[in-house]
Amino acid sequence: MFKILEKEVLAKGIKRINVKAPMIANKTKAGNFIILRIDEKGERIPLTVADYDRETGIISIIFQEVGYTTKQLGSLEVGEHIKDIVGPLGKHIELEGYKKVVCLGGGSGTALLYPKVKAFYNKGSEVIAITGARTKDLIILEDELAEISNKLYIATDDGSYGHHGFVTDILKDLLEEDQEIDLVVAIGPVPMMKAVADMTAAYGVETIVSLNSLMVDGTGMCGGCRVTVGGETKFTCVDGPAFDGHQVDFNELINRLSFYKDEEEVHQCRLDEEVNK
């Protein structure tokens, strides 16, 4: 059992939870994730370790309420418990050898991006962060990102804050102006990651994306998270979740993510019923 020590609403439908998990805090590096199961009947879902403190043994997760499990998680209050948390899972990302890094986060993908920005910044790379969302209220972690980046850009689809448009617009300008960028890290909705990868390919800049495949165990045991990278089948949970964006078969990923659409809707109905009771 993992007790919720702190909870914060970062934006509408985006929350942060802190729990004590010393084993995980002790071993996590940027890019690792955990799998949690809220209760006996719950699904196992993957979430990135957004932050960790080896001293106190506390880890943070930041999540967007998109379906049953994330909404249920969002409804838990400080003092309540999560039954199972296991990790750290996946490969951490390699930080060595990059002078200038552009990190892009879309929507709640910014939460997944945060630990990577922090890691590159602490490693001494020059970090340009770009975060975007549909509208101003959905921009998260602005202050936190400002603190750990050399420059922060913001974009909103509706122009309510920062650049009016997509994060990729800003990236394009940067790539045009600056030949020194040696790595782009993009995390967010699959179409956004695909757009970034297509763009950087034209400029020949190395690009890392973090994939959000459906998972069960997270240990390489089920193969449910498989993706095609460079023509080969990989398991996101053990070979990833970060991969070379120029090699990923995004269309296959989009298709695989849609497999349980109907079931997710069933959950949605049940959830609405339960909430309205």
Binding site: V86, T219, G220, M221, G224, S258
Partner: protein, 468 residues
């Protein structure tokens, strides 16, 4: 009394009924049936059956006690060699082990040793003998870590705890049992039975810590630093193999591991009460013919698939599953397309739509002594399916071995051990599927027992004369 040639029948749940539920299929003997079957045992002085059993259960002895109605005594006799008899009685491939060499089997059907073992163990199940008293007066000896809560790990832990060692099991999943929980379905091994067995291991003082992946959450070196004096690795063979044919990543293609884990561990058969979904469709092809394939096929039937087809590249004779499972699958309407091999899966709108197979014939014997299947050119044909379940085998998961230094492994990933089950690292032992590749529950248990003995020897003598 006239000799009864055949095994005493075991009553089963009716096939038309049982494909609608996940309740256990065979009901097990009642006392009368059990004693009747026990009477068939000839009490052979040489008792070849005992050697046929990988852990040498004293079969004639327990049957003798059972015949006299002394069930508790029979249970103690079995338990002296087999910690998990209620499980083995159900899932052992008896026809290739104890019952294979039973003298009765030469002319008639062998004694139904597995069924008798099940009867005895089930009768005693509610009287879990915690043996806690026996343990209490022993001094607490060194700390030992066991990695993996499958049959190998549970057995090693129990044997060590009985001798007074302080044992902690680290398990990656959120629950115990390994394949017994996530792989073998409820209708073959009710989880209530597994829970009882795990309870009795806990009652011996074993601390079980779930959600810990050794190699990720903690390393072997860190365990030694935490004062564990010896380590047993029983992490199984959990890595699914795929066929590497076009279309394998389409929606609707599951590894048997994923399919069974969703249904068994996550209880997707109780969806949506339990939240994990599984999608089965109407026409299902299961590739392979081992226990894993039969379990997948029978589970698919129960989840409502109209047509479930086993596709296997060899013939009837080579099917590795237990005879009983094959028979039960047939009774449940599973169709067998033998001597066929899938070559391609086609999709429509991203979902499996059909599978192309090629017919096979048996050629010369291969290294395993089985006749090698060879494709018959031009014999391709296509079946319409909406789900494909790949059950062609598992190999050891490299998560632990690749994160542990100086632990020697075979090219296929298995951990190398000597005849004491000692690995190439001092104080580290391994057994079960992680050493042998996918095998059986009883072999994994046997390895757990052997490793426990070796660990005790090592901790007593503190000498590591490993050959590795």
């Amino acid at each position: 009394m006239a000799l009864q040639k055949k095994k005493t029948e075991m009553r089963n749940q009716d096939p038309t009924e049982r494909i609608n539920n996940f309740k256990e299929v065979p009901y097990g003997y009642n006392k009368e049936e059990a004693i009747n079957e026990a009477e068939r045992c000839l009490q052979c002085p040489k008792s070849p059956c005992v050697n046929g059993c990988p852990v040498n259960v004293p079969i004639p002895d327990f049957i003798k006690a059972l015949k006299k109605g002394k069930i508790e005594e029979a249970n103690d006799i079995i338990k002296s060699k087999n910690n998990l008899p209620a499980i083995c009685g159900r899932v052992c491939p008896q026809e290739s082990q104890c019952e294979k060499v039973c003298v009765m089997g030469a002319k008639n059907e062998p004694v139904a040793i597995g069924r008798l073992e099940r009867f005895v163990a089930d009768s005693m199940l509610d009287k879990v003998n915690t043996s806690a008293d026996a343990v209490a007066d022993k001094v607490s000896k060194e700390k030992v870590a066991v990695i993996g809560a499958g049959p190998a790990g549970l057995t090693a832990a129990a044997d060590l705890a009985k001798e007074g060692y302080q044992v902690t099991i680290f398990e990656a999943l959120h629950d115990t049992g390994g394949v017994l929980r996530y792989g073998i379905p409820e209708f073959r091994l009710p989880k209530k039975i597994l829970d009882k067995e795990v309870e009795s291991v806990r009652a011996l003082g074993v601390d079980i810590r779930v959600n810990v992946i050794v190699g990720k959450s903690v390393t072997i070196d860190e365990l030694f630093a935490e004062d564990y004096q010896a380590i047993f690795i029983g992490t199984g063979a959990g890595l699914p193999r795929f066929m590497n044919i076009p279309g394998e990543n389409l929606n609707g293609v599951y590894s048997a591991n994923e399919f069974l884990t969703r249904v068994n561990l996550m209880k997707a058969y109780k969806y949506p009460d339990y939240r994990t979904p599984v999608k089965i469709g109407n026409r299902v092809a299961v590739i392979g013919a081992g226990n894993v394939a039969m379990d997948s096929a029978r589970t698919a039937r129960r989840l409502g698939a109209d047509e479930v087809v086993i596709v296997y590249r060899r013939s009837e004779e080579e099917m590795p599953a237990r005879d009983e499972e094959i028979e039960h699958a047939r009774e449940e309407g599973v169709i067998f397309k033998l001597l066929n091999n899938p070559v391609k899966i086609d999709g429509q709108e991203g979902r499996v739509f059909s599978m192309e197979c090629i017919k096979m014939e048996l050629g010369d014997e291969d290294d395993s002594g089985r006749r090698r299947p060879v494709p018959i050119e031009g014999s391709n044909w296509t079946m319409e399916v909406d789900t494909v379940i790949v059950a062609i085998g598992q190999t050891p998961n490299p998560l632990l071995t690749s994160n542990t230094e100086n632990l020697k492994t075979e090219s296929w990933g298995g951990i190398m051990v000597d005849d004491r089950l000692a690995t190439s690292r001092e104080g580290v032992f391994a057994g079960g599927d992680i050493v042998t590749g996918a095998a059986t529950v009883i072999q994994a248990m046997g390895a757990g027992k052997k490793a426990a003995r070796s660990i005790i020897d090592y901790l007593t003598s503190k000498e590591w004369s490993g050959k590795n």
